[in-house]
Structures are given as structure tokens and as C-alpha cells.
Amino acid sequence: VIYLDNAATSWPKPPEVARAMGHFLDEVGANPGRSAHRLSIAAGRIVDDAREVLAQLLNAPDPLRIVFGANGTEAINLALRGLLRTGDHVVTSGIEHNAVMRPLRALERVGVSITVVPCDPEGRLAVADVEAALLPTTKLIAITHASNVMGTLTPVSEIGALARRHDLLLLVDAAATAGCHPIDVTHDAIDLLAFTGHKALHGPMGTGGLVIGDRVSIGQLAPLKFGGTGSHSDSEEQPTFLPDAYESGTPNAVGLAGLDAGVRWVMQQGLGALRARLVATTQRLSDGLRMIPGVTVYGPPRAEERCSALSFNINGLAPSEVGLQLDDAHGILARVGLHCAPGAHRTLGTFPDGTVRFAPGPFLSAEDIERALAAVAAVAREARS
């Protein structure tokens, strides 16, 4: 098969990831931070290694301000529900994933107000439009780093500067970019960065987290969950130090062992090299698809403006039908439909049917790309006949 669904989860993983997880299960196994014996300490060191390498990758000054959770969605929920209170206003974009929109809509019911800034038809967000949406009650700007539907990157760095100028906080959803596009939380003035471990960071599912900047105090950010942390066990109150304040319950240490290995693999490859390869692959896919009669490609034509996700449709065929034919007849695995981002599809004009999404990963060969293009051409030809 040719796996083109890396925006849903990356696959295959670097072999180091399964090795690290196997090592954890076979040789370490203990609960980190819960006991003082050697295996618990070994598990704790692995979790700390993962924090440290992520801090390095994202240029976060303090690894202890990275809190782990089940996925990017949980991290976004912690940021939004932890921070926003009745009367607060939040500005977001028109291409957000439901991981951002659903918590925001739920908060709207308790008196948080939301402004959704529309993007252009290729998904570009204008900083001036974000600035125009600010109100005296605005507390937070919450935006994705890149659309998971058509891949368009948002101007995070400029929005970070804007947020600082207006003394607002910035939350960035980096699910689509962490591990395949440079992120610098310090330089880009990102106060809260939500990441998932199982996409371009190449870890397993069930890992993710939130980078909490210095401008966000623990008192300001309420925990999503409360419970045992292995620390301050004499008290029935939640600890107020990081990362424990937000890491109740046994962590997914075996998953974090895999995430640690995945991030190290990314660092070893070099983010610049990975990004360059991805831009070349995406450009070839995008150019090739645009040349096929009957195919509409969405999003910016220049791959530099996008991350891995690429959306298209074939005239006269429902996306689900295209996906089925690609899988059945050609062994090409894509994701079709609305990709949990109805706003992005309204932006493209592809709501409610959606699109077919190709999301290449680093293990794809040039030959795979040509075979995928030939397969789309064959499906499109059949649709015309």
C-alpha cells in the first residue's frame, strides 16, 4: 500500500520507536514518579528525556513547563477550558479543527464570546483581520499552525507579535506541524503550544502535550483533571507546581518512551531536511494533481505555504467514492470527508461533501508519489468516461 494519511497519524514509524517501547515494556515497566526504586526512577528518566528533547525541538526554555497528556485535543482542552472564564473573548480562525472549535462552542454556552476570523479561499489568515477582531475583553488568540485540510500555514510569528503588543495570550494548535515544520515558541511568542505525539513527531498514539510559557501562571490555568501525582501525597489538594499540576494519574510512559525516540529521530534527520523533502514531495503531488483533467486541488499552489495536508476532488465523484476506488483498486490510503474541520471546508467551498486528502510522510518514495498520481488520473479518467 501507499500510505498517504500522515495527517491522521504518521505511518510507518521509525524503527527506533517500537524498539524504545519494547525496551520500556520488557526492561523498565515501572510507574514513573510513584516509587523510589530503580525501575521507577528509570521510567521517570525516560519521561524526562522526552520532555527535554521536545523542549529542544520547540525551543521551549524549561522542559518542566511541558505537560503530557493523551493527545493534542486534551492539550487544547486544558488550554481553553483552563484559561477562559465567563466574560472573556477569544479570537480564532475560520480553518480550525474541531479540537479547537468544539471546546470553544462549549465555552460559548457559559458566557465566553468568540470571534471567528474568516480566511481567504485558499485558507490564508490575514494578521490585520485578527487585529481588527480584538476587543477590550479579548484574553486569548487561539489558532492552528496549519490547516489539517488543505495544509495552509498561518502567520504564527506575526500573530505572536500582535498578541504581545496587545498583552494577550496566544495558543497555537501545532498538531499538523510539530515535527515537520520549524516551531520556536520563544521567538514566535507562543504562550501555549498544543502538540500531538503521533503525527510528525513520529511517536505512538496516546501521546501529546501542552507547552506552557512563562506568561501563563499556574493559578491562571485550571487543571482539566485532578488526582494522584506521586507528589504532596499528604495533601488532598492538587499540587501547584509543574508539571504535576496538570499530570494527574499514571502517565502513558511506554508511549512517551516511543515519543522520545520519535522526536530524537526527527532531530537526527534535521527539521530543515525533513521540511525541504516534504515541500518537494507536496509540490510534486500538488503540481501533478493540478495537471489531471477533472481534478480540483485546494489550498495555496506553492508548497512553501503549506504543511503536508493536500486536498482535492474529482469532478462528478463523491470524495468517499474516490477514496474507496483508490484503496480498492490501487492500494492508496487517503482520508476523505470533512476531516473534523467543517470551518475549513466552508472556507474552501467544499462543505458538506468534503475532499480527498493526501498527506505524504517522510518514508514515501518518489515512485510512490508517481504511482499515487497515476492512480488519481485513472480514477478521474473513469469518471469522465
Binding site: 524526562d48 526554555p61 518542566l64 507546581f241
Partner: protein
């Protein structure tokens, strides 16, 4: 380690493990051990250092923003 030993107590083993790593990288001999019973802390592990390194260790942890509860000589 020679000399008198000191233990640095932390609020959480997350901090103790970070501290051990950072002190080790700075060539300050240290090891993670269970917290001695008579000292109050519940995170389970503490970092043992040579008391002669106490100031250097505390300065390093403060600079690296690793919180610690207290440092005690081990009787």
C-alpha cells in the same frame, strides 16, 4: 563521593530526576536515592551530593529553574 553528604529534597520526583541530570552534566557528583525517613518529603526520591558542592548545586538548580524544597546534611 567523599566528605559529608547532603540531600536535596524536591516537591516531586520530576524535579529530582531533572536535577540529577543537570548536576551530572555539570560534573557535580550526585545520585538519586530514596528520601531518608527522618526528613519530611513525600516525593520518594532525593538527590545526594557532597556537601562541599552544595552552593554550586543550588545555584545551578536555581539558574535552571528546578525548584527544590531544602538541602540537609545527612547525619
Amino acid at each position: 563521593m567523599k566528605g559529608t553528604e547532603c540531600v536535596i529534597l524536591f516537591f516531586t520526583s520530576n524535579h529530582a530526576i531533572r536535577a540529577e541530570k543537570l548536576l551530572g552534566r555539570a560534573q557535580l557528583p550526585c545520585r538519586l536515592t530514596p528520601v531518608p525517613r527522618h526528613l519530611s518529603s513525600d516525593c520518594g526520591v532525593c538527590v545526594r551530593i557532597d556537601c562541599g558542592d552544595r552552593d554550586a548545586a543550588e545555584r545551578l538548580l536555581a539558574a535552571q529553574r528546578v525548584e527544590f524544597e531544602a538541602t540537609h546534611p545527612v547525619a
